[in-house]
Structures are given as C-alpha cells and as structure tokens.
Symmetry: C2
Subunit: 311 residues, 2 copies
DNA sequence: GAACGGCACAACCCGCGGTTGTGTCTCAGG
DNA sequence: CCTGAGACACAACCGCGGGTTGTGCCGTTC
C-alpha cells in the first residue's frame, strides 16, 4: 500500500472512471488500472466493479474511501508540520504532565480551531531557547535563569505560572500527617529527586532552593521514570520527593501517597513563556493574549522563587 | 513522501541509529540513509542530526514523529477496514441524516470503544440485503418489503425505528398554520418528493401510502439534493414534501419552513435492522443488545405502516 | 595512533511502474 | 443486426527509482 495508490483510488472514486482520473493525474489509463489493481491486491479486496461505462465502488471501496481521505489528510498535516512558514504552532512544555502542558491544553480547549504541535523532552532551557532563537520553536514554557544573559536578540519572556512545590511522601513517612510544612521543617529530612538531570535549569532551581533553605536534595541514582519513583516512595518511610502542585500524577490506590503543601514561605517553580518578539505566528499572538488575560490566575506573587528569574 | 520513508523514519527515531533501523527493516544502512535523505528532501526539512554515535532527532523531527506515527496508524486502520475477518462493524444507514444514522450515533457514543464503518448510498434495500447475505455488510437499517421472500437463508430482521411522517412546507403554504394533519386532509394537496428513486423500497413505501390514503405523490424531476429541495419548498406556497420526524434537516432561518405532524392515523416509515444470523461479530451482538434494550423507545405501535413490513 | 563504529558517497543493477499497442466487452444508434 | 465509440484489461517494452556492494571519512576509544 503506497500513497500514490491511495491518491489514485480517491481520484477514481471521485471521477467514476479510470480514464478521467488518469488525465487528472497526468497518467495513462493503463497506469491507473495497474495502480488500482496493485492496491486491491495489497488490500486483498476488490474496490471497484468494472463496468462498460466506467467503474463503481464496491462496498469495500465505499468503506475504504473515507479512510483513504483521512489518510491523505493526515499526510498533508504531517508535511505541513515541518513546512517552513504557515505551520502549526510549536510549543515546548518540558513534560506532558506538567502545569505548563495543562495550561496549553486549557488554551487548546478554549481555541480548538488552533492546531498545536507539542514538543517535549528537549534537554534543557538552553536548548529550548536556542531553538526559539533559531525559529524552529515558536514558544517554550521554561524557567529563565539569568535573564539578561539569555534573553538576547529579540527573545522575550513573561512569567505565566508559579508552580507551588509540595512534598510527596508515603503515608508511613514521618511527615505524612502534616497538613503543611515550612522549608525549615523540611531541612531535617532527605529529599530524593533522581529525575533532575544535572546541568538543566531544574537542577539550578533546586540547587538555589537547597542553598537558600539548607535542604539536602539528593539527585543521585538512575531515573527509571515517574512510575518507578512513585513505587519506591510508596514503599519507603524515609524517602520523599518534591513535585509541583500542578504536576499531574496518578498512582494505584494502594500506594496511599500524600502531597503536602509547603508554606512560610511558599516555594514556587517559575514557568515563563519565551518567544521571539518578531515571530508573527497568529496562533502565538492568541496564546499570549490568552495567557495575558489569565496572568494572575496561576501566580503566587508573595511566594519565594530564585532571584534570577524574571518577575 | 511515501509510506516506506515514513516507516523508516519511525524505525530510525526509535532506534537512534541507521544501522539498527536497517537491520530491523532487513535493509542495508545505505538504503536507510537514502530513504531518510529522500524524505528530508521531499519535506524540505532536516529530521536528524548525524552524530558519530548515531543520529538524533532535530526539532523538526520531533514535531514530525507523532504525525508519522498517526499516519501509519491511519494506514493500519484503512487496511483493516477492508481486511476480511476482524474488521470494524459495517452498517448501512441509507443516508447520514436519517433517524437510523442517529440511532447508530447514539450507540457509538454509548460504546465509544466500538469502531464502526458507516456505509451510505447503497442504491436500495435489495442491494443492501444482498451485501448482508454476501457478508460484505454486517447490518443494514432498511425497510423490509415482503419479508418472506427476501429474508431467506439466515438473514433476519427486527423492527427498530418507526419514523413518523411529517409534512414539510413553507410558511406561505395553505397548510402551514395547521398543528397537525390527517392523511385525508393531505389528499387534497400535491406532495413533491423528487428524492425518491424509482425501484427502491422508499418508492414502494410511498406508493403503498398514496394508494391507501388517496394521496398524489409526485416523484418526477431531477434530484438536486436536499438543500436545493428545501430552497424550492421555501419559495413555493403550493409545493410540500414528506419527511421523517427523525430526519435531521437544517435550513437558513429566512426559509421559515414548517414541519407538520400527521395524525389519525399517524403514518410511520418502518426501519428494521437486518443482519445474518450466523454473523458472530461481537460489535454486532452489542448493537443488537443496545437496540433491544431500547426497542420501545423509537416505536409507534399503533401507527399505520404498509402490511408487508415485519412487525 | 590504530581499531572501531557510525553515516555518506559512488557505482552498479534489478525490477517496479510507467508507456505504447492491442483485445474485449457493452451500449447506443442507424 | 451491425457498427462504432467508449471504457477497462492484458502484453510487451523500457527507463529510472531504489536497492545492493564497495569505499571513504570522521569522531571516539583504548
């Protein structure tokens, strides 16, 4: 099964005859006949009944037709997704379960007509910012370290989300019963965050956090993914980790995990939207307007965040 | 852009190197290299950065990857739709705006996991029944004329929908003010139904109806489609047509059309579900159970319908 | 610095997919 | 009833796209 065959099938179905489809495709009737025969052979089903006055779709053909159309549409979309100019908006959200991804989903349900390509798993903010600068990425939700240095040549940012840090523990952990914690209380316990890759802006954030409040954060150990982490946390009464309030986490009911907010001060991880000021993509304008209209909804203005972030 | 290229792209993206992808695809590394180069050329974008230790997706590549996956999935679905055995349920509903299509949609929203291929535009019940008998169609919603003759060799039917006939007129028509009509009142006016193709079960139904109640139904004139018909009806004070209560019709507000129910007796068009008794498709079982659970919801047991339909 | 592992380029070659030519079937018209 | 037109299939041919083998280059590793 190949694209040419599918496209030929659609042309024949639309015109009702091989001849007409052939001239529309700038082919001979025999070529169209062969393509359809090949497609039918590869599918193992007859798609047309040949009549002296043209062809007619069989039931298999009628069933296949809408699939064929959606197939070429999907091909169109795929090609458009990388075509320079007039392409879908490309936004980086670090990970699909983060608060930034949730905001993007909210935006998408508010404007379902705007098509978005979500990018994840870029290594760090530096990579993402370089991509924004190069124009391969329209926007990224990232924490911005040292803004003066990184936001050069027309790359701008606004703070859009303060994700409050919470402690995630098993129900057997010594802090499990607390309804909230202060950073000072937290300093007495070890925090384990193997998913923080060294050299990223996440590592920088937690370094600052640990230094400022005297926490011990252990980022050692291989990162086997969030599910493995949750399982280990659930089975331990001494291990705990930090997560953002907006991070979507699901675990089996028997894990019985606790998410404990931190107060006095509240600690927030700062997400900014970063884009090139000369990027005229209409969907980007819509996204910025959407975020601007909600700019206070996801902010915790009195909470602590590192001094290097834009405000 | 061709399927092989897209599949190769996915294999390379998954393995992270041409070599490995090549052996997985039973190709040489050079062939993979050429395929990717050709794909990149046809898309006008670089998908991988070549490194000494393999390849890495560019941002374009990351964006393209999910599209590529959905593309091969769509291809899978398309091929499955006509593969004999283990295919989606194929149901014929005459036209997408009919009550039978609505019931099928209701069924689909009740069981979103069941995938259905909807077939329309089969010429008549005879064709549809032949397709059911041949096994190319799993079920059809049709009116059954002369059940004893047509429902031979294991093809069975149950009545699932009585679609009450209504008169559709402009607001300037002489009957426009009526809140309901009797067939006898209708007999004095001409009814125009150019969309009834001669030789179909629809024509048979309206022939019976006209003969029984003395109506004059005109099926002459070319059928330019439902929109054209509505426009003509809207502009005439003498033309009217008959439609089922469950037929979904939309028209511009200024048309100001009226749908007038018919009573004493109510006239219904009988839809039956027809299937082969030896068809073991699990989705068909579900559909039958669904319809059986609602078998009184769409019925008008006291209404008139032709004597040849199953009850 | 040599061996290794990875990708690209070059040359070759087979066969897929196109074209031309022809046969067959059906329907319309005289 | 015959004939011509129109439509699709089959056969033969052929060029080129896409595969293979062979080789080079480059960066990493020991």
């Amino acid at each position: 099964m190949d694209f040419d065959g599918v496209r030929t099938f659609i042309a024949v179905a639309d015109t009702g005859q091989f001849q007409e489809a052939a001239s529309r495709l700038s082919l001979t009737q025999q070529a169209v006949s062969k393509r359809i025969a090949a497609l039918e052979a590869s599918l193992g089903a007859r798609l047309f009944v040949r009549t002296p006055r043209g062809v007619q779709l069989t039931i298999d053909g009628q069933v296949f037709l809408p699939h064929a159309r959606s197939l070429v549409e999907a091909a169109e979309r795929a090609a458009d997704s990388v075509r320079p100019g007039r392409r879908r908006l490309r936004v980086d959200v670090v990970k699909p379960n983060l608060g930034s991804a949730r905001i993007l989903r909210d935006f998408h349900s508010a404007h379902p007509e705007i098509e978005i390509d979500v990018v994840t798993h870029l290594f760090d903010a530096k990579t993402a910012l370089a991509a924004v600068r190069a124009g391969t990425l329209d926007a990224t939700f990232r924490a911005i370290t040292r803004p003066a240095q990184q936001l050069t040549d027309g790359v701008v940012a606004t703070r859009v989300l303060d994700d409050a840090v919470e402690l995630l523990t098993s129900h057997t952990h010594r802090l499990a019963a607390a309804t909230s914690l202060t950073p000072a209380e937290l300093a007495k316990h070890k925090v384990w965050m193997p998913f923080i890759a060294p050299g990223t802006e996440w590592a920088a954030y937690y370094d600052e956090l640990a230094a400022r409040f005297g926490l011990t954060i252990d980022t050692l150990g291989p990162d086997f993914g969030i599910d493995a982490l949750l399982e280990v946390i659930a089975g331990s009464s001494s291990l705990a980790t930090l997560v953002g309030e907006h991070i979507r986490l699901v675990w089996p009911a028997e894990y019985n995990l606790r998410r404990i907010p931190i107060r006095n001060p509240m600690l927030v991880y700062p997400h900014s939207l970063v884009w090139r000021s000369d990027n005229a993509h209409p969907a980007l304008t819509k996204l910025r307007a959407y975020l601007d209209a909600r700019k206070d909804r996801y902010r915790h203005p009195k909470a602590w965040s590192p001094p290097w972030t834009d405000r």
